[in-house]
């Protein structure tokens, strides 16, 4: 891709200074988001995916958190360097964010209208009456029935799905260039999940914005993403477009994630599982951080951290042994233990 990136994250490091020690939640992450595309960021909980997004918004709780190093280039500015005042003009205006918990993400003592109007009046030069009109308009766009009535209701009067729609309406009220969605559907029912994802896809088209979709759910990634960054232990371990990732995962971790979910379209009768769990960020292993769980780990993997290297055009992977994995795949073998039989 030769287009100019909307957001360019370079070697971002966000650390938390806790009593127990330094938590390297994000430890040297690179990715780009292009105009009009959806970048999916996937990984298990605790891999640092939420912290990268909060770093872009500069909303990392400080103390204990701090952006340690790196650049976040957005429209010719490095967001890690600009003043808090400048940053506030970007938040909610150029870059908006929606969160995992629609039930608790809205302030219970103000009406949904008040909360949307507040955002509009903050960033646009309009009076309250006009802002209210725009808020009702936004509620209509996100598919809330009877928006003229809903605008004066309190969050607790709405269902979870409706609240997430309100959050989206609020986030889009100032025409952002980038919408960061941090697990927006995780807390919702499956049917509602699909509706919300569909809504986000269609709004992306009509607004021409980019979306950064953070999720642990590969299903969500498949549905909305154009390109994907797989994160593990504070680092990007695989980075490519969505089709390539699903057809040809090159990192043993990605491979494990994919084969641990049942697929309806493939005749697979066994599921694999990645053994163990994510290492504590206080105590990362030496060498490749996946080495405590990787069935292919050997010699070098325990000594030296692999670089994020271009394995094929537009396909980066952080693994010493991705070529060996290729061979294993060709032979049709498995690398993980069976988790059980799928029938």
């Amino acid at each position: 891709m030769n287009k100019q990136a909307l957001v360019e994250v370079k070697n971002l490091k966000t650390y938390f200074y806790t009593e127990e020690g330094i938590v390297k939640a994000v430890d040297g992450v690179d990715y780009e988001i292009y105009p009009g595309e959806t970048l999916g960021i996937v990984g298990e909980s605790g891999c640092g995916k939420s912290v990268t997004s909060l770093s872009i918004m500069r909303l990392v709780e400080s103390p204990p958190g701090r952006i340690e190093a790196g650049e976040i280039n957005f429209q010719g500015k490095d967001l890690t360097k600009i003043s808090e005042k400048e940053m506030r003009k970007i938040r909610g205006n150029d870059i908006s964010m929606i969160f995992q918990e629609p039930m608790t993400s809205l302030n219970p003592v103000y009406t949904v209208g008040d909360q949307i109007i507040e955002a509009i009046m903050l960033h646009k030069d309009v009076n309250r009456k006009e802002a209210r009109k725009q808020a009702i308009d936004m509620l209509k766009k996100v598919g809330i029935p009877l928006p003229e009535q809903r605008v004066d209701e309190y969050p607790h009067q709405l269902s979870g799905g409706m609240r997430q729609r309100v959050m989206i309406a609020m986030a889009l009220s100032c025409d952002p260039k980038l919408l960061i969605a941090d697990e927006p559907t995780t807390a919702l029912d499956v049917t509602i999940q699909a509706q919300i994802l569909e809504l986000m896809n269609s709004l992306k088209e009509s607004y021409g914005m980019s979306i950064m979709m953070i999720t642990h759910d590969l299903g969500v990634i498949a549905e909305v993403s154009d390109r994907v960054a797989v994160m593990y232990a504070g680092k990007v371990v695989e980075y490519t477009d969505v089709d390539t990732l699903f057809d040809d995962p090159k990192h043993p971790y990605t491979w494990g994630l994919m084969n641990s979910i049942p697929k309806l379209d493939k005749d697979v009768d066994r599921l694999e599982a990645i053994p163990g769990s994510v290492p504590s960020p206080l105590n990362f292993p030496k060498g490749c951080k996946f080495n405590t769980r990787c069935p292919l780990a050997e010699g070098k993997c325990y000594d030296e951290e692999p670089p994020l290297e271009e394995a094929a055009a537009g396909h980066k992977v952080r693994c010493w042994r991705y070529k060996d994995l290729e061979e294993i795949k060709k032979r049709g073998e498995r690398i993980y233990e069976d988790r059980g039989v799928q029938k």
Partner: protein, 344 residues
Amino acid sequence: MIAYIARRLLILPIILFGVSMLIFSMIMMLGPYQRLSTYINDPAQLKGAEDIDQLVSKYGLNDPWYEQYGRWIGGVLKGDFGWSESAGAPVTKAIADRFPATLELALLSLVPVIFGGIILGVLSAVHHNKALDHTIRIFAVIGWSFPSFVFGLIVLMIFYGVLGWLPPGRLSNWATEIVRSADFVSYTGMYILDGILNFNFSIVLDAIRHLIAPVITISILWWAFILRITRSNMLETLKKDYIRTARAKGLADNIVVYKHAVRNALIPVVTVAGQMVLGLAGGLVIVESIFNIRGLGQFMANAAQQLDYPGVLGGALYFGFLLILINLFVDVSYAVIDPRIRLE
């Protein structure tokens, strides 16, 4: 909200009945002769020892307890609490005379408690674990540990004894004369308000001067109490998801804190307001007797010292009923503030 208030109102008579039973059962711990005093409205009624026995049977003080309760509560409902030896007047009159002084003191005490406590609590939470937070907390824990009677006496020793600034009592002698004179209309019995209504501002200033020390003494404990609760609620609220949402909108920190957090954090503070009012009422007993303020608290303290049973019981019943009503008001205002209850 209607269901919520209706429930409160339904419980109200049960609580009132319960409190009257509680007081009554304490009365019943006394012997019939001691109890007789609650039925005497004028010491002139007692002439000799033989009269007392007559009166005991006349008032049925050896009857079964429920008959006695019925008669007692009947009298209470008619406003007949008996004769207070310590005040030298019927209990009802003694209470009515002293109520304005207490109300004035209590209302003024709420100002530093609520504003000081809430503002410092918010500041402490916003500067969590920084120097300001630590300083405020140290003062709070000292304030919380300082017994009001010790604090009050020290204030009296320094600001009256040494400096002569803050005298005890309600007014200076010259002011008392004016207040008692025919020209001065006593609208409320609260001198600050009456002074304003009579356009006599020297009375207002004199009353304020006399109230500073008792107000500080009474509020020191509750100021710390409200501060502590505000602080912990604020800390909890600042971690809420909707605060992050507000920041993500691009709002400035001040607006996030004072518009989005404070209002949520204060809702639970309202629930402890009832508890605080109870405590303030208790504090009145100490402060009024230290600073010689002729109010309900001093009345209670004197009555207790002189074993004036009708005075003590009547005062307790009066305080109890008053506070139940205040708590009802607090509960209702809680419902009004919180839309989640209001719209249920």
